[in-house]
């Protein structure tokens, strides 16, 4: 019983860690960045390469993946993405799917089509008991990192002026510029952070799932579900949504396997009908 709950939370955290970067680019910047998975994949493949080829310790790979993906994000933002902020959502979809296709082919070219796996260091494998239930060490590790991320991101957004300047820039970039907000820089920094988080998510993901070139498409639906159920105005929303979805999915498959496959989708549809802005969106926001 408790094990199922913990497993559900851990699964939710996996969803969240993969989606957290998207909370930033899609949620805060209002950019439909379907290429989010590409940045996560960059972090994942970097980790795989560093560990397999260079023997870099896993824990060092995490910050490396963040920095690598952030740098990649920054470069792409400066060269390509910045031309798309004032285009329609549909253009953004088309553009970012294009990037996904490109990245799939490139990774395929470099690494081949088969699954890539890393083996975690011993101190992160194994299980330990907790109130009579047992849970994997790595899952606890992921839960802890997610918790930390949520708190720090949420603080950064609500307690600093950066958050409100960012939202102003998203609301009306033209006027924000006229009010002295350096929209260009704010977007670049935010996009880099979002991409970096995606990379970190990918790196952490290597501990649970395997990577192949179709990763950005395969997980896209999951990212989007977490964000839409959680609402796009906060970081805590998707965090709680991820937990809810994870627990419901795992519990559903455990107790009623026949309908297990429907659960996540049904929750999503029901939530969005009852609360179109997402379950945990700021009530006041339109």
């Amino acid at each position: 019983m408790l094990t199922i709950l913990l497993d559900g939370i851990a699964y939710g955290m996996l969803l969240f860690i993969l989606a957290v970067g998207l909370c930033v680019t899609l949620g805060l910047m209002n950019f439909i960045n379907l290429a989010h998975g590409t940045f996560a994949m960059a972090g994942g493949y970097l980790t795989i390469t560093l560990m397999q080829k260079a023997g870099v310790p896993f824990l060092l790979c995490l910050p490396a993946a963040f920095i690598f993906a952030a740098a990649l994000g920054l470069v792409l933002e400066r060269t390509l993405y910045r031309h798309l902020y004032d285009k329609t959502h549909l253009d953004q979809v088309l553009f970012s799917i294009g990037l996904v296709f490109i990245s799939i082919a490139m990774v395929d070219y470099a690494y081949g089509a088969n699954q890539q796996i890393v083996n975690l260091p011993d101190y992160l494998t194994g299980r330990f008991s907790f109130l009579g239930a047992s849970i994997g060490v790595y899952r606890v590790f992921v839960i802890a990192i997610c918790g930390l991320l949520v708190v720090s991101l949420q603080l950064a957004l609500t307690m600093t002026r950066f958050g409100s300047r960012l939202r102003a820039a998203v609301d009306d970039g033209r006027v924000a510029r006229g009010m002295g907000i350096d929209v260009t820089r704010i977007f670049a920094v935010t996009f880099a952070v979002g991409s970096g988080l995606a990379g970190l998510g990918g790196a952490l993901g290597t501990g649970i799932i395997s990577f192949d070139p179709t990763f950005p498409l395969k997980y896209m639906i999951y990212f989007l579900i977490v964000i839409s159920v959680g609402g796009t105005t906060t970081i805590t929303g998707p965090f709680l949504a991820a937990i809810l979805l994870g627990v419901a999915d795992v519990a559903g498959k455990y107790y009623v396997p026949a309908v297990g496959g429907f659960i996540i989708y049904t929750i999503m549809v029901v939530v969005l009908i009852v609360r179109p802005q997402g379950l945990f969106a700021r009530a006041a926001a339109k």
């Binding site: 409100s164 102003a168 009306d172 006027v175 510029r177 006229g178 002295g180």
Partner: protein
């Protein structure tokens, strides 16, 4: 030499369309300028060109002697240009207070002072931008521009939608700011009679060019002339 803002031979527009041609004028510290003209003659376009949000095709702009022609809008704002857009453009997902603090720089205009000027904003400080009445949005737009502590204030129809009693107060306040704090201001207004008494000079635009430039009191006294220049049939302000 004490020109604070100087436009020379400006031509600008949107995309392919050119709206303004040959605009030259200057503004001194502590001077208020009325920008008049009929609908669609390019007043807003001129304001937007000064702040740097149109496509400039020709000419230069100087602020306090420095060439700001090539600067981006946000750099110009930081260099000392405050802007009240015609459509107010309150940031909708920010609260009233955030709308001000997000753009504020240090200077005499603090949050407290803005609230003091518009007590209504203090009462509504937690409302989101979209949850304000039209007039409250207008007050916030003015407050937000002041929070930048600019040297030049560009006000695009700032009186629109304000109650008469607030209009009086705001006009008095602008007057005070210009005189006491040596801020310069360009005020766009549809109703000349409200702002001519307040300004030293007036510019009248027609089809994107300056068709008249002169002291405000002169225009204010000579209603017929004003009407002629602006191409207005009726006589404004007369009942």
């Amino acid at each position: 030499m004490s020109d604070l803002l100087q436009l020379e031979n400006i031509a600008a527009g949107y995309g392919e369309a050119q709206v303004l041609q040959n605009i030259s004028f200057s503004l001194k510290e502590g001077e208020a300028l009325a920008l008049l003209g009929r609908n669609g003659t390019g007043k807003t376009t001129l304001i937007n060109t000064i702040i740097g949000l149109t496509r400039r095709r020709n000419g230069t702009i100087h602020l306090a002697g420095a060439d700001i022609t090539k600067m981006r809008a946000d750099q110009r704002a930081m260099a000392g240009i405050g802007w009240v857009p015609q459509e107010r453009n309150i940031f909708r997902s920010l609260t009233v207070e955030e709308n001000i603090t997000a753009v504020a720089t240090s200077g005499p205009w603090t949050l407290a002072r803005i609230y003091q000027m518009f007590p209504r904003l203090a009462e509504r400080k937690r409302n989101l931008g979209t949850q304000l009445s039209g007039g409250e949005q207008q007050m916030l737009a003015v407050g937000r521009a002041l929070a930048l502590n600019p040297r030049v204030l560009l006000l695009d129809e700032p009186l629109e939608g304000l109650a008469p009693i607030i209009v009086d107060e705001l006009l008095a306040a602008i007057r005070r700011i210009v005189v006491e704090e040596r801020m310069a201001a360009i005020i766009v207004e549809q109703s000349a009679r409200k702002i001519l008494p307040l300004t030293e000079r007036a510019i009248i635009l027609d089809r994107g060019t300056i068709v008249h430039e002169g002291p405000s009191p002169e225009l204010a006294e000579d209603a017929v002339r004003l009407a002629n220049i602006m191409g207005i049939a009726g006589t404004p302000g007369a009942h």
